[in-house]
Amino acid sequence: MSALHDYFLLFMGAVIVNNYVLTRFLGLCIFFGVSKSLNSSVSMGMAIVSVMSISSIMTWAINHFVLQPFGLDFLRTIVFVIVIASFVQLLEIVVKRFLPNLYKIWGIYLLLVATNCIVLGVPLINAEENFNFMKSLVNAIGSGVGFSLALILMASVREKMEYANIPKPLRGLGGTFIVAGMLALAFQGFSGMIPK
């Protein structure tokens, strides 16, 4: 019961309270780059969730069975980045070969994921916090879902912004940042909801 309780809190924490995009600023390049339309942001969110959950399993295994027993913690960054980048490349090849329809929707987003802050950041945080296997997985899925949530919210606002009369200097990137600030302000309201 209490373990389940912990996992639930961890998951909700990663999705809403400590949303990785809006309160910890990971994955912003994609957040600003892809959030122009709702459709592409949904596909991107799916790509992120699946890549992150699998790569967090792999990096947990490597960290737990190889790096820690041999005292190679300082190589963590190098090893993780190589593992994740090559895994994404492999996934791209497999999807391209066996699921060409999915590849048409997904392919370009998979490439974007390969070297991205959030995909590397979450496994690093998992390793730093010494999460066990289940916790790493729950944290990875939660942060992926949180990322998708932020991306979809942002895309819905930006689609409406197309028709709004925005002051000229703030059109484009500037206005997008300010909208993101407003979203972050809203998410700030959740802070403190999970007792430490």
């Binding site: 910890r24 990971l26 002051p167 700030q188």
Partner: protein, 214 residues
Amino acid sequence: MDLWKIFSRGIYDENPILRLALSLCPALAVTSTVQNALTMGLSVMFVITANNVMVSLTRNWVNPKVRVPIFIISIATIVTVVELVLEAFYPHLFKALGIYLSLVVVFAIILARAEVFASKNKIVPSFFDGLGMGCGFTAAMVLIGGVREILGSGTFLGAPLFGVWYHPPMVLVLAPGGFLVIGCIIGLMNIFQDRLDKASVARVMESSPVKEEQ
């Protein structure tokens, strides 16, 4: 192309944060104080310059098909060196930057400079290209950090600036403030650029003796 041009391009015209909107994670995450912003900026400047030199040195031996993994390994190695040095000599700064220092590995700007510039140019131009991009990055970081620290906590580099009457708006130091400050800076830069463009157009119109027909 002369070196000054290569160097100065990164500072304003192609400023990594404010113009290209690359490498935004640290620009928001560690700019709540000037000190953190400066440390991050200098670390990135070192990494990008060293990596440009490395890539440029090895550009004739690396097979183009595997160049991106090679770039990533080179960047990751340099970042690890920076991490170890900071941890050994400035542990409090290392702690303040936390995970964002490791994330320098996946900064789009570093990979982009390696791919676009250093893999095609000689060592000296690559060095200056990296240095310029690093300077632009550091300048933007310090600018954002300065605005956030001065307005958000009423201090600069930890020294209090205003009297007790100043009640700083906490929001600027918290997460949303980062987004808002960068949005405003980009807006101001656009206004400035607009003025500049108009002025140069007017100057050309005045100086050209031949008026356009019709």
